[in-house]
Assembly symmetry: C2
Homo-oligomer: 172 residues x 2
């Protein structure tokens, strides 16, 4: 059972009727290869995540962060230009009005083809996003904040539900 590490069937009888010979498939978890953070395990204890095909949730998350890093790099470069190269700053802002930053790579490729001055800006953005991702972005902090966010959100969702239903009960 994929979720045996988390919840046992006895804890959730409604969701886990006694039936255990399900077919297992782990397309997105290459569990047999050794991981850096944990020793190799003979049996994969991970939950099966469907719908990612050849990719993994990590790759999907990284793709998202990739566009985010491009957005940040554009903000960094714009802030740097604003104070001492207003002409380049205006050009960048004007370009941003016309092009979406949702796809970071596409944005940079278009910027590079706009003019030779824009090309300089594009190269700078590429360099900044690489440096930001490797040196400045606090990966440990990302994990810490995300874990805290899940805990706090779970607590608050459950607390609000209990408060709401207990009020409804007492009003009866």
């Amino acid at each position: 059972m994929e979720s045996s590490a988390i919840l046992t069937p006895s804890q959730l009888p409604y969701l886990f009727p006694s039936k255990s010979n399900r077919k297992k498939a782990y397309p997105s978890w290459p569990c047999s290869k050794p991981r850096t953070s944990q020793p190799t395990r003979l049996h994969c204890q991970k939950m099966y995540v469907p719908g990612f095909g050849e990719a993994s949730p990590e790759a999907k998350g990284a793709k998202n962060l990739h566009n985010f890093f491009t957005y940040i790099a554009v903000r960094i470069v714009a802030a740097q230009l604003q104070s001492y190269n207003t002409e380049a700053y205006k050009e960048l802002m004007e370009f941003m009005d016309r092009h979406s930053l949702n796809d970071g790579d596409k944005f940079c490729a278009s910027l590079m083809r706009e003019s030779s001055r824009h090309k300089g800006l594009a190269l700078r953005i590429l360099e900044v996003r690489s440096a930001y991702c490797k040196n400045d972005f606090e990966w440990d902090n990302l994990k810490r904040v995300a874990v805290k966010m899940v805990d706090e959100s779970n607590t608050s969702i459950m607390r609000e539900y209990v408060l709401e239903t207990s009020q409804a009960e007492s009003e009866k």
Copy 2:
């Protein structure tokens, strides 16, 4: 100069005219407190990231991942139910058709209020997203993939540009 660790003015004379007495502000980087991964430094070498106010890029990234984890938890629970509790599976699918998963917390809060059976599903999703985020999601891998993605994208953007322009040159 905030980006002194990455690029020196001499490398980019167009973007960095000689002017260095700019006002510094690091709202999102609490650089004075010691970090776990690096020793305390007297001067912050990080690039200034504007526009995040009190929050940080890490918090913004974590918020994004938070919704992603809820999405994954819903997929995990749905896949588990599909094979041995088709009734609950159908109920979850039907609920998903009516409610967006873009805001994961809102989705869970609504699911919890739908019916007592839906409440069971919501509690399970909350539990799974917490377990997934803490145990299953490969944070090291996320960083590795994201860094690789930036390097590869940068190379490919520059290569494509060079190929394109050299072709245009040779056609003249």
